[in-house]
């Protein structure tokens, strides 16, 4: 290996950083460089510049890889699972605060939110649509399995909350606005259509995946 080639690979290895795919990535470039130099007679002292001209600088290459290696199925899955748990915990904390603290600003906010429950349901459905879209866009065909898995894990807080509410394990009067029959039925319907909503999002995302 010439010094220029060696320097390029060394810098690329450093720029990619400590990553489980580091060796695989660098090997792709080593093979590419082998083909490139086999085809062209390049003076040894110009090899580094020649490689930069064709491939880009090691830093530019590492930058191009950054998003690709950072977005993993596991990270995406847990991002949405945690986001859904945060929504539920946020709602629970908000309800408890309203019933315990009686702050004026909180009461105003409570009235505003409980009056706009259907709007909240719509926004919540958008969240599930976004889940499908992001998975479809990033993981394409493979994303379908990930969508099913993420959906099954993410839906657990929803089912748990419905169970606690139906069997009156939660303080029933605290969740009065939710347990109003019309809204509760709407919640149930929305829960059943969350998967189709995510699936539509996934199909849409898959369409723009390439």
């Amino acid at each position: 290996m010439h010094e220029g080639e060696h320097r390029f690979i060394r810098e690329l290895t450093i720029e990619i950083g400590a990553h489980e795919q580091n060796k695989t990535i660098v090997k792709d470039y080593q093979l590419h460089i082998y083909e490139l130099l086999k085809e062209e007679e390049v003076p040894p002292e110009q090899i580094y510049e020649y490689l930069v001209q064709h491939l880009g600088t090691p830093r530019e290459i590492a930058k191009a890889w950054k998003q690709e290696i950072e977005t993993t199925p596991k990270k995406t899955q847990w991002l949405f699972v945690v986001a859904n748990i945060v929504i539920f915990l946020g709602g629970t904390f908000f309800t408890i605060s309203y019933h315990v603290f009686h702050w004026t600003w909180l009461e105003r906010l409570w009235i505003f939110i409980t009056d706009a429950t259907f709007l909240l349901l719509f926004i919540y459905m958008l969240f599930w649509g976004l889940l499908g879209y992001e998975i479809g866009k990033e993981f394409g065909h493979r994303g379908y399995r990930l969508l099913k898995k993420t959906f099954l894990i993410s839906i657990i807080p929803n089912i748990l909350f419905a169970y606690l509410l139906v069997f009156k394990i939660l303080p029933y009067t605290w969740f009065d606005s939710i347990s109003k029959s019309s809204f509760f039925i709407a919640c149930m319907i929305v829960t059943f259509i969350l998967y189709p909503v995510s699936y539509v999002g996934y199909r849409w995302g898959r369409k723009v995946s390439i």
Binding site: D28, Y29, H32, Y34, L55, W65, I210
Partner: protein, 109 residues
């Protein structure tokens, strides 16, 4: 030369199209894109591999190794059935878009 973003956005489609014709290795893909476009469509070769990795992650392509009589083994890429499906969808969409744009702003021919 063309707008960089335009080239970037269509590289995956081009790669799938080439692999739909035959299996190729990374360097061969770059050369083929350059050759077919009379070197008008040139990209930084280093940016090809994150794109190939993404297509592989999405299960639109897969790779296999082929030993060479001289030199290191080559990493060949081939299109999957799902890759063929998405290629057909996107190609049809692309043709419809080009027809529409030609209709709206006028064809250059």
């Amino acid at each position: 030369m063309f707008n960089r973003e335009l080239v970037k956005g269509s590289t995956s489609l081009l790669v799938l199209q080439l692999l739909n014709e035959r299996d190729m290795y990374g360097y061969e893909l770059v050369k083929e894109i350059g050759r077919r476009s009379n070197q008008l469509l040139q990209m930084k070769e280093g940016s090809l591999y994150p794109g190939l990795h993404k297509l592989e992650k999405q299960e639109y392509i897969e790779h296999y190794w082929q030993e060479q009589s001289k030199g290191p083994a080559r990493k060949y890429y081939r299109i999957t059935p799902e890759g063929k499906k998405i290629l057909a969808e996107r190609t049809s969409e692309w043709h419809r878009y080009v027809r529409l744009m030609n209709h709206l702003i006028g064809s250059s021919e």
